[in-house]
Symmetry: C2
Subunit: 293 residues, 2 copies
Amino acid sequence: MRVYLDCLPCFLRQALEAARAATEDEDIHRKVINSVAGMIPQFSLGLRPPEIAQQGYQLIYQITGNSDPFHQAKVEANRVALALYPHLKEVVANSEDPLLMACKLAIAGNSIDFAPDFDYGGINNLVETALAFQLAIDDYKEFRNSINNSRYILYLGDNAGEIVFDRVLIEELRQVRELEIDFVVRERPIINDATVEDAIAVGMDKVARIVSSGCDAPATILSQCSSEMLRLYHSADVIIAKGQGNYESLDEESGNIFFLLRAKCPIVARLLGVSVGDAVLRALSAQRSLPAA
Amino acid sequence: MRVYLDCLPCFLRQALEAARAATEDEDIHRKVINSVAGMIPQFSLGLRPPEIAQQGYQLIYQITGNSDPFHQAKVEANRVALALYPHLKEVVANSEDPLLMACKLAIAGNSIDFAPDFDYGGINNLVETALAFQLAIDDYKEFRNSINNSRYILYLGDNAGEIVFDRVLIEELRQVRELEIDFVVRERPIINDATVEDAIAVGMDKVARIVSSGCDAPATILSQCSSEMLRLYHSADVIIAKGQGNYESLDEESGNIFFLLRAKCPIVARLLGVSVGDAVLRALSAQRSLPAA
């Protein structure tokens, strides 16, 4: 998807939050607001929203002198989610369809996102959230069929904390059949997106090979990815893409992609034909009529 | 209150909504976003939020060539609220404390506001909203005492549609005792704020004298008001100030002011020590410890 005008005020709000996370100096907060406001006329509407975030956060990090303002929050999210891990495993094991439950938990985990103006009630509530989910877009059957016919899965992660939920889904995928699975993280810290450090912190290396995309946008912008990442992308039988950022960057690409996300902003929700807060498991390839945006 | 940095992205969002209300031309929407973004570094944080809105909307109206983009929406809000008028009267008449009920309805009516990012569920739901209200700040006793000792009330209106609810409160005030009441409107259209035209459309002239403040901010900026308005302001026994805009412009002034409003943004809610959506009847003069902002 391409940038909507609505993304611009939303991004200015995010910039202020990032500035506040980076420093307590209010003069710097004002400087960030002014500088990002000054970028707005230059942003091309042909960009994808995470490309704007990428440009904007680079400027914010430069002004604040803090290139990872959400570091402590990410560490904390990993810690809290990891403490939940035994409970997640138990919920999956006790469910009628463990793979479906693991998908729902992975989607619930996608709530942990510092960018949108979306209050999800804290990590410890996410199991209840998942248990209450009815998938607003439900391509689970196609997903399960695809997995049954796959050997190699490329799993595109999104946020710190969320990756514990992803680990549970990956472990569940391995129950379905023998699979080669790579877990993709961002090249450098941006917002609260997961990097190699985060993935290792939650033990992802025990269940998948961790790969950096080579791209430091909060998304998977293929034109910015490493050649190794592109090779994996094009050889994957199934691509699992978590979160809005990966959706915003890949919805116009090709591939056997399944988007697992929680709709957290009105624009993405409208594009998907769902409501803010809804859980989505969507096959890119599925034919469906979407409402006009 | 003075502008918070949080007000700036919020105002950029409002600018886009106003641009869309003014014209369908998306190039003009982009021009508005760019121009208002360009104003942001110039805004002094010493201003009150409605002063920023005033400057910004003037620019928006200039760019779009439409100086009253919400005109039709205002006419419609007045029409829908007026259709509710008999029901409002009935609810007040059947309540244990009709003046309190009329205050709650007037606060519920303040939900009709196109500026904040606040979904109130439509005018026809506002009676139920009012019936469910517990006042989060409840200076009703002081209010009632003040009215009992007053002869002249200056009532500062806020939005179209809402003024039907204000009319009901004014009629109820007249049940308490013989009062002289002036109802103040904005000098010119801004957002969905009520002007003389709106007040007449809902029959306000039957229950009060309609006075323009002389100010075209979505608020009562005393330094911009007419000398006649200032004379009324300083001679009033009680000033009833409706809505966030009037609160934002008068909270540092003096006078026997009662603010009746629904908190519709996180900043105002935090300043008042309440939650977004809460109903507030607050005496300016009352001594209370407010939380740090």
